[in-house]
């Protein structure tokens, strides 16, 4: 008797699992950056268009494939055509790379979370130097939040060549992060289904709290106005459209096989069309919601720094010219400067080089994305809020929930094909398979906790998934529409769910979405080829800022290997199966 496939206890668990997977760190730290770079409010136009044209159809396709084939990515594509099981293998390989480096972010979130229970927050003050007359030099040149990130958390080396040793503190946090992930996936859908209630809903609670707090912060409106003022000329910039398409694509987590895995645990009759629309809409609105929060925080931080700068300039002028204390304010600063320049020209010219030009726009202009936004900019804003420990704990707890939610989907993408395969699951129970996968990923992930670990993290973040995913989803769409047959798939879906497939989906699947993906693919390839050598940002401790350096040859080779190992799976497995079949038919053929 065949063991029944585990199912989600109710459809809500499935929707929550998809939301928890799709709504991840990218919504918080990538979308606000794109919004700022590509025209503020007007970026929403390409974003929403791409959502309707690319995001929803592709998401629906993946969910439908998973629900119809009722297997993980490898099995699903083997059912479509044995030559295409390479697509599933490529998905698993990419998911494995992602799992390795993504959990390091959770480790960092744990690190910051544990350090939030101190007064004062460790990233708000600089440590003292040797003879206690001043602050540590590196901390003075950079800021205390940058120092805490680059020196205390990462202990980063000046370049990728200097490997350094494994730092035990982040290594411990990484171990804990993997244990927590293992705890959540241990029992398969049984445990995952309960965990996703929390990982999907808690980030929204924190975001709402932060929204209320953020909007009431002094200077928040500056940030919001700056962000949402539409710059219509950006609509003509092709990069805006390409980035909108890319953001939708990667934000939904297409191509990893997680969505196929989740949908395979569904009842065959569930309405995956409705689920696809709901999940993609919630994902995009969360991005917009998170960017409102982020920009009020930006506005607060920028206003705070601007006022600090003004205060420093006032103090300098007051001291130099012996003015009365409190005479200089923000409003009369320029006037007084002009007066002083004319009344005491020699003294003024002496002090002039030290007077910084304080500008609110330049503070707001510092657009940051990625780990820099989450761990440097946000912490800088938090340290200036009242009761900063509470805000810090809430914030890093939210990052953890987002990160773990995405990891659950990720590990599901790896484990579902493994547990589906009869060879492996007959020898090992699923707890052991999950344990092995977590152990191997954790062991390899220790590379990211070395001193040069952050540079390797950036390599994985930028190159492990980008090109491969585009190719995987392209082959997926072509496989379903042309190899399996769109009509056959349509009738399967109708038999399964009882609903007819709208013409819109058919047009998108067969024509528009593949063309879009090809366009994106061509753009990225040409971009990589045209830029020549790839560069990275390295932290220079003596200057207290990032400098651009070239990747050494072996790093470039590693990048090439990363991209090749997933994309080559598709043709290699097809070739392998072809050869195996020829050998079999060769054996079975009667000897002449």
């Amino acid at each position: 008797m065949e063991k029944a496939r585990p199912l989600w206890a109710n459809p809500l668990q499935f929707v929550f699992a998809c939301i928890s997977y799709a709504v991840g760190l990218g919504n918080v730290w990538r979308f606000p950056y794109l919004c700022q770079m590509y025209g503020g409010g007007s970026f929403l136009v390409p974003y929403i268009i791409m959502l309707i044209v690319e995001g929803m159809p592709l998401l629906y396709l993946e969910l439908a494939v998973g629900q119809r084939m009722r297997q993980g990515s490898i099995g699903a594509f083997r059912t479509i055509s044995p030559y295409l099981s390479g697509v599933g293998v490529a998905s698993v390989v990419v998911s494995f790379f992602l799992a390795m480096y993504y959990n390091v972010i959770n480790a960092w979130a744990f690190w910051y979370l544990f350090h939030s229970f101190q007064d004062p927050l460790p990233w708000s003050v600089c440590p003292l130097n040797g003879n206690r007359t001043g602050y540590d030099e590196e901390c003075e040149k950079a800021s205390s939040t940058q120092y805490f990130w680059y020196r205390k958390t990462l202990n980063i080396s000046p370049s990728i060549q200097e490997n350094g040793s494994v730092q035990w503190e982040p290594a411990l946090c990484l171990l804990l992060a993997w244990l927590v992930v293992y705890l959540c996936i241990l029992r398969g859908t049984e445990s995952t289904g309960k965990v996703v209630y929390f990982t999907a809903s808690l980030p929204y609670c924190v975001l709402i709290i932060y929204l209320v707090r953020g909007l009431t912060l002094h200077g928040a409106t500056n940030g919001l106005m700056y962000m949402f003022t539409p710059k219509m000329e950006q609509l003509a910039n092709p990069k805006a459209w390409i980035n909108a398409a890319t953001q939708i694509f990667f934000s939904l987590g297409l191509g990893f096989g997680s969505l196929i895995a989740f949908a395979s645990y569904n009842e065959p009759s569930s309405n995956c069309q409705k689920h696809a629309i709901i999940v993609s809409l919630i994902n995009s609105s969360t991005s917009i919601f998170a960017s409102i929060v982020t920009f009020s925080i930006y506005g607060f931080k920028a206003t705070f720094n601007y006022e600090n700068c003004l205060r420093k300039v006032s103090l300098l002028l007051t001291n130099t010219f012996d003015l009365e204390d409190g005479f200089l304010t923000a409003s009369n600063l320029e006037q007084v400067k002009g007066y002083l320049a004319s009344a005491y020209p020699s003294k003024y010219s002496e002090v002039f080089p030290h007077i910084k030009n304080c500008s609110l726009e330049s503070e707001l202009d510092t657009a940051v994305q990625g780990t820099g936004l989450a761990f440097i900019v946000y912490t800088e804003a938090i340290k200036n809020m009242e009761v900063s420990q509470l805000w810090s704990v809430l914030y890093f707890f939210m990052l953890l929930m987002l990160g773990i939610g995405s990891m659950l989907g990720n590990t599901a993408a790896i484990l579902t094909p493994l547990t589906d395969s009869k060879i492996i699951s007959s020898h090992l129970p699923k707890e052991a398979i999950s344990g092995l996968v977590c152990l191997i990923s954790c062991a390899i992930g220790m590379v990211f906790t070395t001193e040069a670990g952050n540079y390797w993290f950036d390599i994985f973040n930028d190159y492990a998934a980008t090109l491969s995913l585009l190719l995987i989803v392209l082959v997926e769409t072509i496989a379903v529409c042309y190899v399996y047959g769109l009509r056959r798939f349509e009738s399967d879906l109708k038999a399964m769910t009882g609903r007819a497939l709208s013409w819109y989906w058919k047009v998108m699947w067969a024509g528009v979405s593949p063309l879009l993906i090809v366009g994106l693919f061509v753009f990225y390839l040409s971009d990589y080829i045209l830029t020549g050598t790839l560069k990275y940002q390295a932290w220079e401790a003596s200057q207290g800022q990032l400098v651009t350096k070239d990747y050494p040859a072996y790093a470039l080779a590693a990048i090439g290997l990363l991209v090749a190992s997933s994309t080559m799976c598709i043709p290699l497995v097809a070739l392998g199966i072809f050869v195996l079949r020829r050998l079999k038919t060769g054996d079975a053929a009667p000897v002449a």
Binding site: F114, F117, T133, L172, E324
Partner: protein
């Protein structure tokens, strides 16, 4: 907040004299030995400490070290701190942040780590127990299921309840006797 007037200047002179009196050789310093000059609107001024017996001003280094020793008292007398009351050429000794013997983050890490390990162990053990129970049951469950399915008779489209198998095995008359047996 207070306005800076001659009384405040008097207090300042008193604090400087107090600091000098703490120096081993200078217990005889009086308030009148401290002189203020060039007082500006900014509230900044120069000051010297004189030694009337030798009729010269004390070296700056000595005054600086004396003030450094008593910086805290001087600050508190004026309800100011190192940032708001600045002595040029006297760098303030910064207080290091307090470092507890065991960093706090390790304590919290340890707690969460132990909770997670305990939870994992519990889940794995319960999973093993469930699987052992499942491995013992299947042969018996399959037999009774087959018998039940064979015996479902249908009359007028309504299936009759098959004989309750458990009822056939347990004889009510002997049930109480089992309870009389003393359990070992």
């Amino acid at each position: 907040m207070y306005a800076w007037d001659t009384n405040e200047e008097y207090l300042f002179k008193a604090m400087v004299a107090f600091s000098m009196r703490k120096v081993p050789n200078r217990e005889a310093t009086e308030i009148s030995h401290v002189l203020l000059c060039n007082v500006t609107q900014r509230v900044s001024f120069w000051f010297v400490v004189t030694d009337p017996s030798k009729n010269h001003t004390l070296p700056a280094v000595e005054v600086q070290s004396a003030i450094r020793m008593n910086r805290n008292r001087i600050n508190n007398a004026f309800s100011l701190n190192d940032q708001t009351l600045e002595f040029l050429k006297i760098p303030s000794t910064l207080a290091p942040p307090t470092d507890p013997s065991v960093p706090i983050w390790i304590i919290i890490f340890g707690v969460i780590f132990c909770i997670v390990i305990v939870a994992i162990t519990l889940l794995i053990l319960s999973g093993i127990r469930q699987r052992r129970r499942k491995n013992k049951e299947p042969p018996e469950v399959d037999d009774t299921e087959d018998k039940c399915e064979n015996m479902i008779t249908v009359e007028n489209g309504i299936p009759c309840d098959p004989l309750d198998m458990k009822g056939g095995h347990i004889n009510e008359a002997f049930m109480t006797e089992d309870e009389r047996l003393t359990p070992l």
